[in-house]
Amino acid sequence: METMTGAKALMTAMEKEGVKQVFGLPGGANLPMYDEFARCDIRHILTRHEQSAAHMADGFGRVSRKPGVCFATSGPGATNILTGLATAQADSSPMIAVTGQVPVAMIGKDAFQESDIIGMANPVVKYSFQPRLPGEVPEAVRKGFYIAETGRPGPVLLDIPKDVQQNEAPMDFPDEFTIRGYHPWNDPDLASVQKAVDMLVNSERPIILAGGGTIISSAFAELQSIAETLMIPVVTTFKGKGAFPENHPLSLGPIGMHGHAEANKMMAEADCVLAIGTRFSDRSVGTFEAFEKRLKIIHMDVDPAEIGKNQTTSIAVVGDVRASLRIMVKILLQRSLKKSEDSVWIKHVRETKAYWKENLKIHPGEMGAAKILRKLRELLPKESVVTTEVGQHQMWASLFYDVIQPGTFFSSTGLGTMGWGFPASIGAKVARPDVPVVDIAGDGSFSMTENSLATAVLEDIPVIVFVLNNSTLGMVAQWQRTFYDRRMVGVDQGGCPDYVKLAESYGAQGIRAQSMDELDKAIKSALSSDVATVIDIPIDPEEDVLPFVAPGTSLSDMILPS
């Protein structure tokens, strides 16, 4: 056993976990850890706010499926990452947050920059550790990474008192460990999968609902094989967007509050749903009662607590959804089950899809959201990674930006954190430097973490920020127009700031695109730029996101464009 400080042990343990970079911001209580960056191979990426560091780690984790790591100091540094932890927890994203803490003897004395981050973060982390002795650090790191990335992934907090970082101890880096109360993987029950197959085969109007879990477990090939073999149309949740190629004939796109009209219609008509890795959020299914009343639900999820939480299920399959779907694929092969594409249901699905493709009214102007996002899709290589912020642009992206390569679209879907997309795109670009990474943004959200431009420029992480700029908190404005008799309160952004100048002031490229022609050029310029680019696209502040399923109503009650 080598004797070293807790801080050195932390870095050594992280190197053993394969950590190549940390997003963070130093302060008094994490200086001993920062000092180690001078002596190890882990890259430090400096952020201008701890919240952004957390979102970067989150974006890295979602794309690479390995925990991203962020560092913050004690007190305000730690409280600043809370939103990042909550976002990662809501979307089951693997992440490690390491915070400095005041020395052990000072804990509870209201010391300078002391906060009970373990207590505060409790409901928004999968687990947390606060090593009280330097010798406890290696095992906390090993267990932390294991917990963060296994089962249903999530954020883990390591809160390390300053003296634990500074003091030396003989260090053992264990490969083996036990966590008695943690059983992340269940073997899917074969009999339940068989029953599920029977139910699907015997139903008249089956549909597949692919949730975020499908993407987390990379069950793309299995999903596609089942859909094609049984000729079942596929809808997704918003988080599951892109679990299935959206240019596939069986794809209907996301359901939900701003789901595709054809997806909501077909979901409302189906008699049996194979729901994969989804928690049936209210934003996806509308009212729970209306949803489950007419449907036989087969629910596959890695988290047993999701079964029956929001929806009563007919058949539950607990386990990694990829493992469950693999069993299903095997059963279909063994039993040579195959359905033809001429069923009444599939014909109806095809017609409905064609109808809405033809008849969904979009904004008539040259710079309507649909046209802008379709242009982006046209010019982006299919392997590009897209993140979004939260608001109208996010829902337009859901409606009009088709994800072709599965697992290339990420958004803060559960917590709905404005300001997530830009730092997350930086984390994503670090994970996938070989592909273009675009943050589809609105001006309201981008304002919240725009100072990450400094990180993108100085750390040479050339992402593209695609700002649909209506100079308004657009989604709030839409609700005020729809539900509050057009009393517009607190939504006007007043054309401030000028995003082109803002980008330039950080040393990034700023381009304003006011026509389709300019947009075409701007996207091409951004794609060939070796510096981060902000494309500012002024749009009509009155444009609504439609269709719209009002809260508390069912998916069949869509408000459509008039």
Partner: protein, 160 residues
């Protein structure tokens, strides 16, 4: 529905906080809670009683089970479980007759009388929550000065 949950947890600081926080954040209610270390010092046993419909109770058990610090979570069947609560009453006495009456009730419920004063006495009662409730209703007319309850401790009977 009233339910008794038996939760074996790691005997570490902060676990009680996490368990009770789960009830708060998931909008469940704790009716009573008792905690103590087990014969194996690595574990503590929490006994929580709660109310909810079947679906809610199943959800509580699953959410507790999902917690990494819980080693075993069980909903106990009342009929196969020994469950008791300790309750201490301080009861007002207005006359010598009151003292006799209260003593009779205490004997009937298998309780013990302590700290007898001219105008009050204390009662220690170990019973089921329902029995404690019944006793409380019976002594209510005398005047209850204060009550302290431990919450239910419960173990499933062997071989059932």
């Amino acid at each position: 529905m009233w339910a008794i949950l038996s939760i074996l947890v790691e005997n570490k600081p902060g676990i009680l906080f996490k368990v009770t926080h789960l009830f708060r954040s998931r909008n469940f209610n704790i009716d009573s809670i008792s905690v103590g270390v087990t014969n194996n010092a690595n574990y503590s046993r929490m006994t929580i009683t709660t109310y909810g419909d079947d679906k809610q109770i199943i959800q509580i058990v699953k959410q507790l089970d999902k917690m990494i610090d819980t080693v075993e979570v069980k909903q106990l069947d009342e009929h196969k479980t020994l469950f008791r609560e300790l309750c201490i009453f301080n009861i007002k006495l207005s006359s010598a007759n009151d003292s006799m009456e209260v003593n009779k009730l205490v004997n009937a419920y298998g309780g013990k009388v302590h700290d007898v004063k001219k105008d009050s006495l204390m009662v220690e009662l170990t019973a089921t929550p329902a029995q404690i409730q019944a006793f409380e209703e019976l002594v209510e007319p005398f005047g209850i000065i204060a009550v302290a309850r431990t919450g239910v401790a419960a173990l499933q009977r062997s071989g059932v």
